[in-house]
């Protein structure tokens, strides 16, 4: 069996070399199975939609499932680089997987375009000319939430996040912009599903608002339990817990919640209108934040392919850096550390018919970069 597999990969490699003679080969490592699969599927679908719309047949995409395990992601990256001989890597959803894969990939001279994760190390000391983040630096949405809290005149926030690096960064990011007092600060257990204890503490703390970062199922649980607890303090959070993919699961509980995002499906620009329409037509569901990020990532790549040959690394890098594409977010450019400089909005959760979705309320941070760019030397 092992021998056969050997021949199999040899054949695949041979075919692959044929295909990349002039085009670009992209390796997408993303989460397609297990509990976090929804995010990966959205990124993949958004990305593939853009590739399809470009009509180019010189972009080949190899997609693999990382199962949300860092060691599997590293293994897949090795496979993509060593055996598939890809030029560009993309797709990773989670910061811990990004930290496992990206430094090694760019050290081997590959380009990496991040459609979701933006750990602070890679924006600061660990930045690399071949690494481009097309989503945000991890702190951005939390910073926007802090800025929003100021503009909404909230002065006594209770803040909570899971006890892991992204959670710690979230609270740091919020506090970086938030100017009021803290009624309380809590770290929950990663993967925790019951928040009765935390909600009781919020109730007792005399806060005037709640900021939380609880991605995925944790956020759904928290919001449902919060709504049912009878507390009616305003809630602010990053878009992750109020995104299209999970809003239906939260239901009424999320109505009226303000959340910060760099994108919303009702952002008024031609690229976005076309994207939302075509995504719905093709996949029969509303696009999510992650789908928009996947879509933008692909369009960035396509713009670079049009401008330069991937074989000429310097030219290709310059073409990427120019970010000459129509982003679904409107204005988009890269800062000195290859992380986006973009606008951040606060959105409100509303109901349209029987579908829960978001509506842009206002702009909170304009042309905002990130706090780590100064540490980046490249």
């Amino acid at each position: 069996m092992t021998i056969r597999q050997l021949f199999l990969s040899a054949c695949m490699a041979a075919m692959a070399t044929g295909a990349t003679a002039e085009g670009v080969k992209v390796g997408m490592i993303t989460t397609l199975s297990g509990g976090g699969a929804g995010l990966g599927i959205d990124v993949r679908d958004g990305f593939m939609l853009a590739v399809e719309q470009s009509g180019r047949d010189d972009i080949e995409v190899v997609i693999e499932d990382d199962q949300r395990k860092p060691d599997v992601a590293v293994q897949l990256a090795d496979k993509m680089i060593q055996s598939e001989k890809v030029d560009v890597l993309t797709g990773i959803i989670w910061s811990n997987l990004a930290m496992a894969v990206i430094p090694g990939a760019v050290a081997q001279g590959k380009f990496y375009l991040s459609p979701n994760a933006g750990p602070s190390v890679l924006a600061g000391k660990g930045c690399n000319p071949n690494y481009f983040n097309v989503a945000w630096q991890n702190d951005n949405l939390h910073e926007a939430a802090g800025a929003y809290a100021n503009s909404a005149r909230l002065t006594n926030s209770f803040i909570l996040a899971p006890n892991y690096p992204a959670g710690q960064d979230a609270l740091t990011g919020y506090k970086r912009f938030y100017e009021g007092e803290l009624a309380g600060e809590l770290y929950t257990k990663l993967g925790q599903t019951d928040y009765a204890s935390e909600i009781a503490q919020i109730r007792a703390a005399g806060a005037d608002s709640v900021f939380f970062f609880l991605p995925g199922g944790m956020g759904i649980s928290f919001m449902k339990q919060y709504a049912e607890s009878g507390l009616d303090l305003p809630v602010v959070g990053p878009a992750f817990s109020f995104d299209q993919g999970i809003l239906q699961a939260v239901g009424d509980a999320a109505l009226g919640v303000r959340n910060t995002s760099q994108w919303s499906k009702d952002l008024d620009n031609p690229a976005n209108t076309a994207f939302v329409e075509s995504f719905q037509a093709k996949y029969d569901r509303l696009p999510s934040l992650y789908a928009s990020q996947g879509f933008d990532t692909a369009n960035l790549l396509i713009s670079a392919v049009e401008a330069a040959d991937v074989g000429d690394q310097d030219a290709f890098r310059a073409a990427l850096k120019a970010a000459d594409f129509a982003s679904t977010r409107g204005d988009f450019e890269f800062g000195p550390n290859n992380h986006p400089i973009q606008d951040f909005y606060v959105r409100e959760v509303i109901q349209e018919g029987d579908v829960f979705t978001n509506k842009v309320e206002s702009l909170v941070l304009e042309s905002h970069g990130d706090a780590y760019a100064a540490e980046c030397k490249m």
């Binding site: 050997l6 090795d78 006890n163």
Partner: protein, 327 residues
């Protein structure tokens, strides 16, 4: 030569031949897969000392795997950032030398296995399974929330650590190194299985009362086996982290414990070379099925179920027949 011995030789030859062929065909990824199989095999061989020889169903071996990984990650991190590991009462610097890292990984695992084993071995049966799981979960949650070494994000090491005389970044050289370690571990464990200790340990698995009646204490045998087992698994953890140049709490998760157990079962419990076959098969399945369908876990589950229900004794049971008592 028994069929089992023949199978052992074929297995080790294939595990060596595939990456060598891949090397000559310039297919480095296949070498990486083989390296992964060899390293996970070491973890399985380690667990097999406790599980197969001693009958100790540890559902928490990821602890040692992860500790080995973190030993590598922490030492290399400090060496690469030129910060000492500790300064008081005396200075300890990090290192990027694999032999030193291995020793530390083994040392840390031995200490952990002593502590966990000494407490857990007071229980038996399901209680033992669950208390080993509990200890693993404790360390897992600790690793996730302890910020100093990256928490859940884990710890990246940008360059693989060094081994005197080798370029470890070259896939085939790193494979050879891991294969060599695997061979040494297999030699050690097959000697151990036939040694006085091995005989007494296997007797303690089959009938602890008998062992007491001939003047030996099962607890001491079990604890020793658990420690040896943990040390080997810890060593494999250090190798695994170096393969990925990365360590994270997933190495400590209960899924990892389950996977190491799967290697042992797929190969055949109690067969010294069984985990090698099990790990190789697992990697192969993951590679082939993973490409086939996003729902490949269904197939993996079905296969596993098939092995447990209908192919007792795993691959070795199928291919080599009933275990032959060796004189």
């Amino acid at each position: 030569m028994t069929r089992e011995t023949a199978l052992n030789i074929v297995l080790m030859a294939v595990l060596l031949a595939v990456p060598l062929a891949a090397w000559s065909l310039d297919e480095p990824f296949v070498i990486t897969l083989a390296t992964r199989a060899a390293i996970l095999a070491i973890a399985g061989v380690g667990l097999n000392v406790a599980l197969g020889l001693g009958g100790l169903v540890s559902f928490g071996h990821a602890v040692f795997f992860g500790l080995g990984g973190y030993a590598m990650g922490i030492l290399a991190h400090h060496a690469q950032t030129y910060t000492p590991l500790m300064t008081a009462p005396f200075t300890i610097d990090g290192t990027t030398s694999m032999p030193v890292i291995w020793l530390v990984a083994i040392g840390v695992s031995v200490l952990a296995a002593l502590a966990i084993g000494a407490l857990s071995l007071r229980t038996t049966g399901v209680y033992f399974i669950m208390i080993t799981l509990a200890f693993a979960q404790m360390v897992y949650y600790f690793a996730i929330s302890w910020p100093a070494y990256g928490g859940e994000d884990g710890l990246s090491v940008y360059v693989r650590n060094g081994f005197p005389g080798l370029n470890t970044m070259d896939p085939i050289q790193y494979f050879s190194l891991c294969y060599g370690v695997l061979a040494l571990v297999l030699l050690g464990v097959s000697r151990l299985a036939r040694s006085p200790f091995g005989l007494m340990l296997q007797a303690a698995r089959q009938d602890p009362e008998r062992v007491e009646a001939i003047g030996q204490t099962p607890y001491r045998l079990y604890l020793t086996a658990f420690v040896i087992s943990g040390a080997i698994t810890g060593l494999s953890g250090a190798l695994f982290a170096d393969l990925n140049r990365f360590v994270s709490p997933t190495m400590l998760s209960w899924h990892m414990s389950g996977e190491i157990m799967i290697f042992v079962i797929l190969g055949g419990v109690g067969r010294v070379f069984g985990p090698v076959a099990g790990a190789a098969l697992f990697i192969l399945l993951e590679h082939l099925l993973g490409g086939l369908s996003a729902y490949w876990h269904v197939y993996l589950g079905a296969m596993l179920l098939g092995v447990v229900l209908f192919a007792r004794g795993g691959l070795y049971g199928l291919l080599a027949g009933r275990e032959v008592a060796h004189d």
